[in-house]
Symmetry: none
Subunit: 194 residues, 4 copies
DNA sequence: GATGAATGAGGCTTCATTCAT
DNA sequence: TATGAATGAAGCCTCATTCAT
């Protein structure tokens, strides 16, 4: 069942969560053991969404590692954008979780970096990317994706998700691509108007 | 006065803040109107630190815009690293502040991006940087600096602040520098062992 | 109907009572007006059991008042032992009942003392018992019977209901019997092994 | 400190406990970790009172074991009478305690029987008491003492604590004393008017 | 100035009760 | 009849805030 559709918002009191979900407080406790369980569920939900959609996007991008990185980042950003409230909750509330749940979330998040890391690694090995620090590069992709949710107030007026993704891809790919391949992938490097 | 030196930690109740600071609850209320005031003070403190040290570092970096960007980013990261608990609090607690205080913090943070933005702009105009999206580039610097505090659990074992700064500079500068100038600034682009 | 067979246990929430009884919560509310009604029913059930079996045991004991007292106490103890959970509930929950129901239960309990009181009275009048305080003596019998349920943790390892009854009878009858009749009723006064 | 002076009453909600004690809810949590802690403290308080006063009374009773039993029972009853609300709480709420605390209370209660048991034992060995089941006899004394609190509604109109103690002593001592010693201890055996 | 005992509103959670199926 | 999902009032507990000392 999908109590908790439009989770998020600002208030995280069980009363307000219930009200927003349009159910009673008591009903939440039929599906979740306690508040921490609700929180974990929301956060893990986003991470599972990422786990489902980012690898899929990479797979659908074909053989080219650069296309894979671009597609993976694109998908990551879109999941975050579609769940930006939940993404923000991750930063705001995860310190309230038990050590166990925090570990769970860390592990899932670290796992979510890996597909991007693998594509990056392949791009490096194929000579398409300069020999960048693969881990750092991949993690930056994740951080930039989160940035859209964390700093929406900063980007929102001037950017849409599309333009944000395009802009960030232009930056990060030009950081990584060897000069020889800039023209080949110029479709990612030119910031188009939106 | 310097009540609230090493606040931070995890607990943000006034009683635990007092205990950690080694003072009584009552004393905090002599210096701060209420909890929100304490929070704002902590957050604004970090931002003022940035406001003081990042421009100073840029100034000290000399005429070269690329050196300025590097020095500014370096300083930004170090302030965050020295106040990582407060930096995390910004993300965790700012949603609990009044609209007014949130606006104040946003303004300060947007202001903190500007020195980095100006240096970036100059680098572009001097032909040292490719024509990147200056705002986005500058904001990414800030986000990556915050990343050190937000994701310490991810980077900590393998990275020190120094290696983190070096690694990130290598990435972001190779993103921006035109191929012609890679050699000139190769000191930033090679990740050295630490 | 016999919803609520082996209620008891520790949990007294309607949901757990229902689960233990193997029925739905809703069904309980078809047979009982509310929780207090369930409670009263459980408690009254035990008292009615006593009201049915103690006089019957006394009747079956024949003419001898001492045998009647012994038989009555024996029966009282056995009803309590067979319903020890419900007996404990009486002590634990009766303060939650309405004044009206508490009065009802008091009256039933006072009534349950009477057959023991009458037999005691006859024993005194027949010169078998010393002139004890009949009310107190009879009530002690009830209290000692309850003691089996209330303090099972104290008696359980060393005593069975049988040995408990035998031991208590030995004590209370030797308290009451005049010295002249000790031998006549020595069958009650010697604690046998079990 | 003595928050919780006149504990007891009927209501055991923290709100009502606070109100009755004339303090705020919050203050209770400065002295007690949680509700269970309050409960345990009340119950243990009575048991410690017994532990203090019953042995003292026995000691003060002199060398005679029968006097000791009488004095011990007298003291036990008076502690219960002075704390009858707390004594009732023991029966009503101890099932809500953690296993650990229940064990603690059992142990204290079993300990509280011992002084009475020892005096009884001595009386038996001195040939003053018939060879009764010492454990059972001693425990009955405790149960009868509790009886005053548990069944106050039954005894109250006709009995004071004094007359209750006198009446019970007459019963239990005549149960135990060998016929030879009835006259010697007749001061305990005759129920006087009150 | 400095303390920390005291307060009580507000948040989490349980559970008696209802009602649509 | 029988079910069990849904409700929401009430209880436990925390913690921002005050104030007598």
């Amino acid at each position: 069942m999908t109590v908790l559709q439009g989770k998020g918002s600002e208030q995280m009191s069980m009363q307000s969560v219930a009200q927003e979900a349009g159910v009673s407080v008591g009903l939440i406790y039929r599906y979740f053991a306690n508040k921490e369980d609700v929180l974990r569920s929301v956060i893990v939900g986003v991470l599972e969404d990422i786990e489902a959609r980012v690898p899929a996007a990479i797979l659908a991008a074909g053989e080219d590692p650069v296309d894979q990185v671009a597609a993976g980042f694109d998908a990551y950003c879109r999941v975050i954008a579609e769940n930006s409230e939940a993404a923000v909750i991750t930063y705001r509330e995860s310190s309230r979780l038990s050590a166990e749940n925090r570990t769970l979330i860390k592990d899932l998040e670290m796992g979510s970096v890996q597909p991007l890391g693998r594509a990056t690694q392949e791009a490096v090995e194929a000579g398409l990317f300069a020999p960048v620090d693969v881990d750092l590069f991949a993690y930056n992709l994740v951080l930039l994706a989160h940035g859209w949710a964390l700093k929406s107030w900063y980007f929102q007026p001037q950017h849409t998700v599309d333009s944000y993704i395009r802009g960030q891809l232009a930056l990060v790919l030009s950081a990584a691509l060897t000069p020889d391949h800039h023209i080949e992938y110029s479709r990612y490097l030119t910031a188009k108007e939106d």
